[in-house]
């Protein structure tokens, strides 16, 4: 797939994010090359999830632009969606569909080329194969999270945006995820991940989001309005 090209580059320039009336971060720059990884760090509310949603295309940046190989992402949203996998806080598991049906639906929707073999491989990889015929409502939180993560392998895409992927996962599953991320990067993929837990992501660049929080004027103004803002 051409998007896995070794010279691919995903970058953002001067990104700003506005949530409600609050500027969460501003003038944020990043650049990621094929095989790279970016670890988002920062306290609660510093904008890690907002940045990931912005990178996925769910949020529009208040300022700045995102580029893929120096082409603005906004020019072709659908091409961007095809390159990106986003794993957020919700697992999007339908209670009445089986594990297999859930995963097969998302894989087919993301890339029609993704066949049964890839879906089966992804289930195997995340240790869900014996649960394939179990309806989603019977899964534990960790199993749902693994099913959500299995989408990453069932329909290959070069950019993985993971918002605290290790929540609810046991140690063995975290190890497996680390191995999958390493393999994905070796194939020329990119990983952008936010976490509060320990995760092994060798050679990852770190982005401390609290450094991009706009300082004095905004915050002073808000503080003047009373504490119910927080």
């Amino acid at each position: 797939m051409s998007d896995f090209a070794p010279n691919a580059r995903f970058s953002g320039h001067g990104l700003a994010c506005l949530r409600g009336e609050r500027m969460v971060f501003a003038s944020l720059d990043f650049a990621l090359d094929a095989g790279g990884a970016l670890l988002l760090l920062g306290p609660n509310g510093s904008g890690k999830s907002s940045l990931l949603r912005l990178l996925a295309g769910l949020l529009k940046p208040a300022a700045g632009r995102l580029a893929w190989n120096d082409q603005p992402v906004a020019d072709d949203r659908e091409a961007h969606s095809a390159r990106v996998h986003y794993v957020g806080h919700h697992d999007a598991v339908k209670p009445v569909l089986t594990v297999w049906e859930n995963l097969r639906f998302w894989a087919g929707l993301h890339s029609p080329a993704a066949g049964d073999a890839l879906t089966a491989g992804a289930l195997e990889r995340f240790d869900l194969k014996r649960l394939a015929e179990v309806p989603g409502k019977l899964l534990s939180a960790g199993q749902k999270r693994r099913l959500n993560l299995a989408r990453l392998l069932a329909a290959p895409a070069p950019v993985w945006l993971l918002d605290e992927p290790t929540v609810a996962l046991d140690r063995a599953s975290v190890k497996r995820l680390e191995a999958d991320m390493a393999r994905h990067r070796a194939e020329g993929g990119m990983v952008i991940l936010s976490t509060h837990a320990e995760i092994d992501l060798p050679g990852a660049a770190e982005l401390h989001l609290n450094r991009f929080t706009p300082a004095a004027p905004d915050m002073a103004l808000l503080a003047g309005d009373g504490e119910d803002w927080l």
Partner: protein
Amino acid sequence: MSRLFGIIHRDLRLALRQGSDSVMVVTFFVLTVVLFPFGIGPEANILERVSSGVLWVTALLASMLSLDRLFQADYEDGSLELLALTPTPLELLVLGKVAAHWLTTGLPLMVAAPVLAVLLNMNADGFVTLLLTMLLGTPTLSLIGAMGAALVLGARRGGVLLSLLVLPLYIPVLIFGVGAIDAAVQGLPVHAHLLILGGMLLAALALTPWATAAALRQALE
């Protein structure tokens, strides 16, 4: 195209396994229509006179019943985010979801309508027209309703708000639906009414998916 069928297939499967929505909509339709003979008395000529209006108003309310669930479940479990992030245009996915909604609610209403028409002593000349107006009108209701459902996503008491938004927009469908049946019963030509209903369906088909998708994107921000 395979993606469009993919989402229709999934939504139909969800509806079949959860079961409740179609049954609820049809039951509401039947029960409410059955109330009318009790309310206005069993005189055949009065029932015959109001039958087309009663059927259409009740069908309209029934099809609105299930609207607030159209996107709500997907919104709550995060599926909507993923749908918005697939390489398929969201407008197309909206169309798929509306198609599934019509198949599980509009179509059962259409099947139930002639039976209830007999109950209300509707003139047999109106039956074919009743079915045709339902066939053209109920998909329009689903399309317009989806727009309202997307707009109230995430709002508290969304159901009430939804009916306030959507019911006024249903009025043209109601007028021409009832008008066509009345014309048929009186032996007048019904082409004009049906063409206008068809025109409204085409307009809704072309316009509402854009509005619905825009409202969904807004809700996800």
